[in-house]
Symmetry: D2
Subunit: 293 residues, 4 copies
């Protein structure tokens, strides 16, 4: 069992830290708003008053933060991880940031003798609570092996995809597919509704054939009832699509459908729908088709 | 057990007729090229020398043909189904044609006392052979109930979606989602490859998260090995996308991603790739990204 | 000077017939709503009570009608042009219809000894009134020469582009460019406005550089004042984009920007804006960007 | 007449400096490769051995450089403009960089008592040689008035569009329209060619109607003869489209056609065509349509 410092106890981080504590790890958590540590403490973990306190004795430090600026602030600050973690500690950054930021973090940490994995996740709040996340990992094979007990407490699928940054690149590919397939399903639903088809019947049979997908299954109720409580917010998907399109530009890969989906997500955010679940892409199709309420 | 006349013993129709014969139905098959009847005869069915002969004694007539012109030729010809089927027979057209053509067929058949269901399928050759097709049905509820034993021998999921033409409309929605999601997966794979990611690892973890889909599972080997033997030909998907975009235009539904995918499929066909499996959309992404061989 | 039967005295046809009469031609006009003949009569022309009466003595018959069904009704009906025009007459169809419909009209007319040119126009109501239309002509060179005095009374630029249907094909290309460039200008204006730029200044300098175009000049006031009185209606441009995309599909030409513009025009029509000028594509950009009123 | 230091004597900068010298201004030019100063010297200007020497006595300093890094190196370096120009000098940056970089330059220069205008241009090499550039200016009105004699020697149209950065924003809008309209024209030409239309005739009549534009006029020969010698390179347009799409993302403006054009330009660059004129977007349409050689 590992001694773990857990930085970032938000919607995702809190249940993840809880699952680690329940699995028997010694978990000390820190969050900017200290009231978010309660669930962890109830599950047997400890609350730290500072990042330094959370990471000082840890073999493994986990960060689960909204974006690169927060990761970099927590890593590089005076009270930060690199200044206070033990030499030889393993820093697992499970936030979704750019591949370049992950590569930079690994290089900077190496200078302090700290090893790094990038390990962003897919699965949302439900996946975090139920410990069935998909975890996409970049870094050294030995570090991946060392992290295995941690990943086992958090997810169902976890795979080493390549060197530092590779986890973030795969996460970007994940968000690309999810965005485009959400749009596909939204267009199909608007099409079926305007044709007067029984949607419950149609979705059942669509899911049984080549059109079936996790998006269509997990978001079916959102689509059918126009229930756009998140889930995963369009504003976050918008941020992720910037990673996708900027990385693709750097790589010289052309993404006709991906860049269209990025525009349609940007449109939803510009229209003030950033706090809705990303299944609300259906609203955009309805707006374009003149059937939005 | 029903007496069935089966018209059209192609890649899909032949294994479907075989499965019906094996399930105990009395099946008489007809095909324009008569040598295609062999498999059915081996499975215990009979070969007919004409459509008239195939349908004369049938309670159920099934058509499984490439497109509307063939369906209409077989239905309306002098030697055709409407001229020779029994009054009260049930005609199940499992071809993929336009909703309008299905509505027209039902109306014309009704004048001869023949009932019609439109019942296009999803699942490809493998789904036909393994009898796990998804079947999307339009027509009367009583006729759907009457067809149940037939559908049970052919597929895993079969659902009545609405009145005449509704099966075709749902099939169009199916082809829309499949086209866009194939394009999404193709873009993600080109993105991952150019980033130097281990594709086997990446696809495993992608399939485990929200990006997972039947397309990603069933077409994984096609994508990984650039093995574009059909499966389902781009030329047929091109024909289906014309149904999708024309129907959407009539309905007044806007399909930004669907019409983009239709253009990219049209491009593959224009470049001479119509006979490849539709997973060959990956070639288009590679072409645009300068990495095609 | 020619004896001309003019069929269709709408927004475009009426000023065209007037210009022909003023140029000294003998013009007999017919319109489904007979009150539309007044302007022509004032200009020295005559009103006919039937198509037969309008075309019986004409050397040249001109049709200027909304779409193919109206052209075909006027041409092929019992009281129609082919039944009543003189052998050797020249039928100039200036309506915008599909290239295929034009080819069919030419073939059918030839069987009655009547020659045909397809000669659709660009320039809108203002171009018709001021006799500065661009005229895109398909047909035989000798017939084009014979029609020269007619074209000189109607337009500024008129060019023989190829055989029967070629005029319609060039008109389709015209509508393709106009649609996409309108969308480009609309996006640029939304971009400049949200950036707080002085639009009058910006449009002046844009028009002076490589971004300059007839669309930007002629539609500048529409864009600046959100004055969407037609001009040219989105509903008609929608019909024309169907000709563009269907012809492109038949030809095997891929139009990524053209098909996107077609979707955005379809969206405007679906949202109930079909009666607005096509510069109202700006409303769609504002809707997507959350700045529509 | 002004004393001018001119930094950057490339394809655009060299003829611009020559035009200023010919108009009677005292011009001292500097270029990283010193052999590029010859044309200026022949026109009566002087060559400087360093930036410091070029700007020391200047009332006006002009920069005409490829991108923001070069502008910032020349402005902020130890031997740079801000370190050596006179207090009260006017720095006119005619390079195309991001609006943000222009705002930053103005702020940093102000601390040294140096005034700044951003003044990017449209018109290409021909426009620079013939002194008919369009100049889009951002900054203070008084500085714009002071720069008027300079602009008169360089261009035909020059307009103050707003505060610092506004010139760059309008330039971005210019590049957006040009990219999309080039794509529109390319699609129309591919469409006409595949339909067998006489292109010379078609382009004449298209240019006479609402489809007419500066792009269609100036690039006509490039399109007709597949002559893709630049002109304006796709690689530079690619860089500019990154400014367009990034700025639009910051502004919250959705650019469906603009982002599609950005992808198609990125595709051309990825395929190794970055050194061709941007009219080579036609090659992309031909590639997608299977008609590329």
């Amino acid at each position: 069992m590992a001694t773990i410092g857990f930085i970032g106890l938000g919607i995702m981080g809190s249940p993840m830290a809880v699952n680690l504590a329940r699995a028997g790890h010694t978990v000390t958590g820190w969050n900017r708003s200290p009231e978010r540590t309660e669930a962890l403490v109830e599950a047997g973990g400890r609350a730290a008053g500072s990042i330094a306190e959370a990471v000082r004795d840890a073999d493994v430090v986990i960060t689960m933060l909204p974006a690169a600026p927060q990761v970099e602030a927590c890593a590089y600050g005076e009270d930060g991880i690199l200044a206070h973690a033990k030499k030889g500690a393993l820093l697992i950054d499970m936030s979704s940031i750019t591949p370049q930021a992950s590569v930079g973090l690994a290089r900077n940490a190496a200078e302090r003798g700290i090893r790094v994995l990038d390990a962003p996740v897919s699965g949302g709040e439900a996946g975090a609570v139920e410990a069935v996340l998909s975890i996409m990992v970049g870094g050294e094979a030995a570090d991946f092996e060392a992290a295995r007990p941690v990943f086992e407490a958090l997810g169902k699928t976890f795979v080493l995809c390549g060197p530092h940054g590779a986890g973030q690149t795969v996460k970007a590919a994940n968000q690309l597919i999810v965005a485009v397939n959400l749009q596909a399903c939204a267009e199909a639903i608007a099409f079926l509704e305007k044709a007067g088809i029984d949607l419950d019947a149609a979705l059942e049979v669509l899911n049984g054939g080549l059109a079936g997908s996790t998006v269509l299954t997990r978001k079916q109720q959102n689509f059918l009832h126009r229930d756009y409580r998140p889930g995963f917010k369009l504003a976050l998907h918008h941020k992720d699509m910037a990673v996708v399109t900027d990385t693709a530009r750097d790589l010289g890969v052309v993404l006709p459908a991906g860049s269209l989906a990025a525009q349609l997500i940007a449109s939803a955010v510009a229209r003030g729908e950033g706090e809705l679940d990303h299944s609300a892409l259906l609203r955009g199709v309805e707006l374009l088709s003149g059937t939005a309420e």
